[in-house]
Each structure stands twice: as structure tokens, then as C-alpha cells.
């Protein structure tokens, strides 16, 4: 599918008019149907049910707007968008993974919200959101969407294995030094992996890796997205920490799905991963072991800088009336009500302060489910998952993540050389 995508790029560029953006229509006066690509609809269970509920309440409140919810698996959203744009059947609004946002904006003539939404309406809607959450959908300074369903990294741990290893589960690891010591202790005492992470593996993307490096003062690329920086000393030092744990045998290389299974079945001590997997882990832990969660670990006294996983809502249509309909839907899905459904039913982080504190919305749920609180607390230190640059962003991702994997799990101890070589190759894929 990746090859097909690149072959289609030229056709897409030719097919799109890239107009000067005018503002959306002031109101909907005639019935209109908009197409909404959504990956939660493509899953069975809570994500789909919550989304259908929100679409149902939207339909009741907006009888002139018919939303055709199209289920598309998250891994296929970009391929599907490209095929449909060429076929003249592109979505009016789409749920786009943050990693794909830069590519979408640079190649599909997506209008910026700043350009099409009336300023006062946009300001009013954004005013209730956590400021760092708004930044997540900004590309090169312009706001192209609104963060929708997303999570932050959480250190899940198996309290039973902590006790078996002589560790205190009420004092979870706070720093990476603590994590390392605990992981090795658990491995030696129980024979189980002490630590698993969602950093590595074929479906991992780089969202967690970006946060991991930034927690040690590093970053994968410069702020202007023009220079790759994942071989800087801070990155080398951060990966050396993980390599030491891997070398001690306490952290095997396993794909993300296997890691969830190992943790769910009680066979791993700790698991650093998006809080979105919490439901799956709780289902496995129920009646089997004591699952707990702690914030993302820090490097020494530095503050952890968690990045976000997840997706944004992006308006793609050029038609002013459809833009208005899509904007109304976007506001509904990211309202206090929307985030109440998203957090309490689907399991993602609420991005609205009022939804968190209001008794009408999430306050009772958060009191009953304190495990969500570390996620909300991390919103204050959240840094955006920045999309990799250019049309070859997926190749850059592969080069970078393969190198990081090799640096941690490979036979060669020379992390600097591995990363420098990969950085040089990745840089050659960055548009000049």
C-alpha cells in the first residue's frame, strides 16, 4: 500500500486545485451530507459505540446535517484518503493520526482552520481547551485540525511481581534509574521480562520515542522540521539506558501486540505504553493480578515530557457549506459533552478543563476512576508528537526506528555510530 501511495502522489497533486481559502458558510440552510472517515468506527467495542453515540446526538441537534460515518482502520486512513481523493470521493472531515498530519497538509491542499473558521467562533471554541492540546494539530505554525482522541504514555506495572521481587508497589519507579533497577530485580526474581515498552516494533510509530528523547533534553528533529537530530548525545544517552536494561536480559524485543499480551497475562513487570491500552490490560488483570499505573519516568531531575499518541479531526472539503457542516461536527465531537463520552466510554484523555471539573460532565467519573488522573496531570507537560517531514516521512520513520532498535537490542555497542549513520540517511530524505 505504501508503494501505491507514493505512485499516487503526483496524480493527487494534479487532481487538487489548491484554491485560495475562503471562509466557510455562515450557517446551514439546506440539508447537506458530509463524509466522515473515522477509525474508531472501524473497531468493534467501546470506540465504535462511543462514536456512534456522539454522531447520534449530533444528528438530533443538527437535523439538516447528515453525517456518513465511514469506518477506516487507522493504518489504512491515508491510503484510503488518497484513493478517494483521486476518485473524487474524498472525505469532508477525517480522523488523522498525528504522524500523517504533516503529509496530509503538505500534499492535499487541506485548509487551515485559522483560514476558514470565523475567528470569534474558533477563539470561543478553543478557549476552553488545554493550551498544549491545541498545539498538537498545528503544523508549521498553522492550525489544521483539533486534537480528538489521544493519550499520553503511562508506566503500567504489575504490583504482584513487584512484591515477588522484593520491591514496594506503593513506591513505583519515578526515574529511568529506578525503572532499570526494578526491571532487573523483577527479571532476576521471577524470570519474567522486567520492562516492555511501546517504543519499538513495526506498528509503534515514533510518538513515544519522541517523548522519550525529549525527556532527556533530546529531540528527533529540529523545531523547523528541517534537520534530523536523533543522533545527538542526549539521544545516545537515553538509548544507552534502555540498552543496559536489554543487555541485562530484563527487556526483550517484542512487538507491541505481544507486549500487551505479556502484560495482560501477568508475565511482565512494567510496560511503558499509551494509556489507551488500559482497558485491554485491565481486562487481562481482572482476577489475575494487581495492575497499577505511574507517570512516564524522568531522566534524573529533569521533567518528563510526554508526547501524545492518537489523532486529530481535519476538515478536508473545499466547499464552504460542507466546511460549515464539518466544523459544526468538529465542535460537537470536541465539546465538553464530546470529551465526556471520549474519556468515560472510549478511554482517552479529556482536552477540556470544564469537562474535567464539571459535575455535569466528567468530575464524578474521574472520582470513581482515579487511574485516569496521571494522564490529565501530564497534559501540563505534554509536548506535541511532531510529524516527520516531507513525502518520504514513512521511510524516515523506518530508518530512525530501525536504528534505535538496533542501538538498544543489536550486537554492536557503538550506539553513536549506528544513530549517526541512520541520521545521515534520514536527512537525505528530508526535503531541502
Amino acid at each position: 500500500m505504501k508503494t501505491v501511495r507514493h505512485l499516487l502522489l503526483g496524480a493527487i497533486a494534479a487532481a487538487l486545485p489548491f484554491p485560495a481559502f475562503a471562509q466557510m458558510a455562515p450557517a446551514i440552510e439546506e440539508p447537506v451530507t458530509i463524509r466522515f472517515y473515522n477509525y474508531n468506527l472501524a473497531s468493534a467495542g467501546l470506540g465504535r459505540e462511543g462514536t456512534l453515540e456522539m454522531l447520534g446526538t449530533f444528528a438530533e441537534a443538527n437535523p439538516l446535517i447528515n453525517v456518513e460515518g465511514v469506518p477506516v482502520p487507522s493504518s489504512e486512513v491515508m491510503s484510503r484518503v488518497q484513493a478517494d481523493v483521486i476518485a473524487g470521493q474524498g472525505p469532508d472531515i477525517a480522523q488523522i493520526i498525528f504522524a500523517d498530519l504533516g503529509y496530509l497538509v503538505e500534499n492535499f491542499g487541506v485548509p487551515a482552520l485559522d483560514d476558514i473558521a470565523p475567528a470569534e467562533e474558533l477563539d470561543e471554541h478553543l478557549s476552553g481547551m488545554f493550551p498544549r492540546g491545541i498545539e498538537l494539530a498545528r503544523v508549521d505554525g498553522d492550525l489544521y485540525g483539533l486534537a480528538y482522541v489521544f493519550s499520553t504514555p503511562v508506566l503500567f506495572y504489575n504490583a504482584d511481581l513487584f512484591i515477588e521481587a522484593g520491591l514496594d508497589p506503593d513506591q513505583p519507579p519515578r526515574t529511568w534509574e529506578d525503572v532499570s533497577a526494578a526491571a532487573i530485580a523483577i527479571h532476576e526474581a521471577t524470570g519474567n521480562p522486567g520492562l516492555l515498552t511501546g517504543i519499538f516494533g513495526p506498528s509503534a510509530y515514533d510518538w513515544l520515542y519522541q517523548g522519550f528523547l525529549r525527556s532527556n533534553g533530546g529531540r528527533v528533529m529540529s523545531e523547523d522540521r528541517g534537520t534530523m537530530m536523533f543522533a545527538e548525545p542526549e539521544a545516545v544517552e537515553a538509548l544507552a539506558t534502555l540498552r543496559a536494561i536489554a543487555q541485562a536480559g530484563a527487556m526483550p524485543l517484542v512487538p507491541s501486540s505481544s507486549a500487551i499480551e505479556a502484560m495482560s497475562s501477568g508475565n511482565a513487570g512494567m510496560y511503558l505504553q499509551t494509556s489507551a491500552v488500559q482497558g485491554a490490560l485491565l481486562r487481562g488483570a481482572e482476577g489475575n493480578f494487581d495492575l497499577r499505573a505511574a507517570p512516564m519516568p524522568t531522566f534524573g531531575d529533569q521533567q518528563a515530557t510526554p508526547t501524545n499518541s492518537g489523532s486529530a479531526l481535519v476538515i478536508m472539503t473545499q466547499d464552504p457549506v460542507r466546511q460549515r457542516a464539518a466544523w459544526e461536527l468538529m465542535q460537537h465531537l470536541t465539546s465538553d459533552y464530546g470529551y465526556t463520552v471520549i474519556t468515560s466510554q472510549i478511554g482517552y484523555v479529556p482536552l477540556r478543563q470544564n469537562a474535567v471539573t464539571s459535575e455535569e460532565y466528567l468530575a464524578p467519573f474521574l472520582r470513581a476512576n482515579p487511574v485516569v488522573q496521571p494522564n490529565i496531570d501530564q497534559l501540563d507537560s505534554l509536548v506535541p508528537w511532531v510529524p516527520l517531514p516531507g513525502p518520504s516521512y514513512r521511510q524516515i520513520l523506518t530508518v530512525m526506528m530501525n536504528a534505535s532498535e538496533q542501538a538498544v537490542f543489536g550486537a554492536d555497542d557503538n550506539i553513536e555510530t549506528i544513530l549517526a549513520d541512520a541520521q545521515s540517511r534520514a536527512q537525505s530524505l528530508v526535503p531541502r
Binding site: 473497531s43 470521493q89 487481562g284
Partner: protein, 273 residues
């Protein structure tokens, strides 16, 4: 002594085949067992469910439109298989019985299309069916899957090895080409046709990318998309996933059992040739 040797030799194939059979059957067995496990027992390594339950089947059926998906898949797989068989029989018969200008080139071109992955032509096909207004329509699923180069190649090979004396005898009795094909050749090619039918049916039944691109709603899609719905960003739901996979396997297993003898005959004859 001869009896002892024969008995001894008789054990050798069994000693090889029994472990191979276990290796082949084990994943299927594990799928059924996992589908019967309760959620908190899903990662158990016991080879049978501790407390068997049908909860995963109930949940899967409540979560997605299983029956419409199975119906769509069955219609798609059966019609596509029949269409490919029909076009393959006619095309193979033409290639085997007639010499016509550029016949070898045409045959080579058909053979070459077999080497082109469907993903390469998927987007042009998609644009075509969308212009025909057939998006989210079962007919659009079927249209690009009515002819199979693989089926034509396989049947050409089978028809070439068909005894020409039998065909000539039928022609001497006054039978035309059409009658010879359907009354003489096809009935005697039951084994390769059955094997081909199974291969085509399974291939269409398991089709994922084309329906993924084409269908827009649960009620119009196929079971493979339904299975994928239990693999989520928030973790895989193994119990319902295995339940729905078990249901999806049953028609394929049933057809294989029904046509088992013909399939084995076909492979044995292919091995002897």
C-alpha cells in the same frame, strides 16, 4: 520377513504424517479453544478451556453485523468462483482446441497478468467502479474478479493432458465443440475443477484489501473486515476475534470436506504427471 518389512515401512509415513497433521491442526484447535475461553482466562496455556463459555460468540455477534457480513462474503465468494471457473473453462478450451493469430502472445499476456499483484491495479479499478456509481456495492466487488489468469493457466494444463482420442471419438459421433466441452471434457476434469474451485473460493473468501477500499458500511462489507474490527489501537480482543474467525472458517472447512476426494485425486494425478 516380507510382512515385517512392509509393516515397518508402513509406519514410516505415519511417523512423518502424524506430527505434520498435529502441527497443521493445532492452530485451528487453538482458535476454537480460545473462542470458548472467558476473558480473564484468554491467555491460559491449557489446551482446552477451563470454563467453556459462548460469551465471545455472543459479544462478537452483538458488536458487529456478523450475519450480513457472512452473507456478503458468501455471495461474493460463490459468484466470483463460479464466474472465474466459467471464464477459465471457456478460455482454456479456446487455447487448447484452436490455433488463431497471436494465440501464443495472448496466452503469454494472460500469464503475465498473473504476475501483477492486485494492489497495483486496485486504484484504477476503484476509480472505474466509483465512476460507474458502484462504490459500496457487491457488484463492484465482483467485477474485477470475474476472470482469473491462474485458473486459465491451470485448466489449459489439465485440458492439454486430456486424451485427444476421446475428443476425436466424440467429434466422429457428431458432437460439436460446445457439446464436447460440456459433455466430455468438463465431466472428466472434475478433480482439477474441484481443486481449482476450492482455491478460488478460499482466495475470494479471504479477500481483504479490495472490500476494504470499496465498502462503506458494516452491512455491505465482508467478514474479513469484521475480523479486523477486533484488532484495535486499544489492544486486540482475542476472544471475540477467535469466535468470529471460527465462524468464518466453517464454510471453507465444509466445502473442503465436501470436495475432499476430488482435491486429493487432483493432487495425486498432478503428482503422477
Amino acid at each position: 520377513m516380507t510382512t515385517k518389512t512392509a509393516t515397518g515401512r508402513g509406519w514410516v509415513p505415519h511417523a512423518v504424517m502424524i506430527p505434520l497433521a498435529i502441527v497443521s491442526i493445532f492452530p485451528v484447535w487453538w482458535m476454537f479453544v480460545t473462542s470458548l475461553r472467558p476473558e480473564n482466562d484468554i491467555y491460559s496455556s491449557l489446551p482446552w478451556p477451563g470454563s467453556p463459555t459462548l460469551d465471545n460468540y455472543t459479544y462478537a455477534m452483538d458488536s458487529i453485523a456478523v450475519w450480513p457480513m457472512l452473507r456478503n462474503t458468501a455471495i461474493y465468494a460463490v459468484t466470483s468462483t463460479l464466474a472465474q471457473m466459467l471464464t477459465a473453462v471457456l478460455a482454456a478450451w479456446a487455447f487448447v482446441r484452436w490455433r488463431f493469430p497471436l494465440d501464443k502472445l495472448l496466452f503469454a499476456l494472460i500469464a503475465l497478468t498473473w504476475l501483477v499483484p492486485f494492489q497495483v491495479v486496485m486504484i484504477p479499478n476503484y476509480i472505474l467502479v466509483s465512476r460507474l456509481g458502484l462504490v459500496d456495492n457487491l457488484l463492484a466487488l465482483l467485477l474485477p474478479n470475474m476472470v482469473s489468469a491462474f485458473a486459465i493457466l491451470l485448466l489449459v494444463q489439465s485440458m492439454r493432458s486430456f486424451p485427444t482420442e476421446v475428443i476425436e471419438a466424440a467429434e466422429m459421433d457428431g458432437a460439436g465443440h460446445w457439446r464436447v466441452l460440456w459433455r466430455v471434457v468438463v465431466p472428466n476434469l472434475r478433480a482439477p475443477l474441484a481443486a481449482l474451485a476450492i482455491l478460488l473460493f478460499i482466495s475470494t473468501w479471504n479477500d481483504y484489501f479490495w472490500p476494504l477500499l470499496l465498502t462503506r458500511s458494516e452491512n455491505s462489507t465482508v467478514i474479513q473486515i469484521g475480523i479486523q474490527m477486533f484488532l484495535t489501537e486499544e489492544g486486540n480482543q482475542w476472544g471475540p476475534l477467535m469466535a468470529i474467525s471460527s465462524l468464518a472458517c466453517l464454510p471453507v472447512l465444509a466445502i473442503y470436506i465436501a470436495l475432499q476426494r476430488q482435491v486429493i485425486d487432483s493432487f495425486v494425478k498432478a503428482g503422477m504427471r
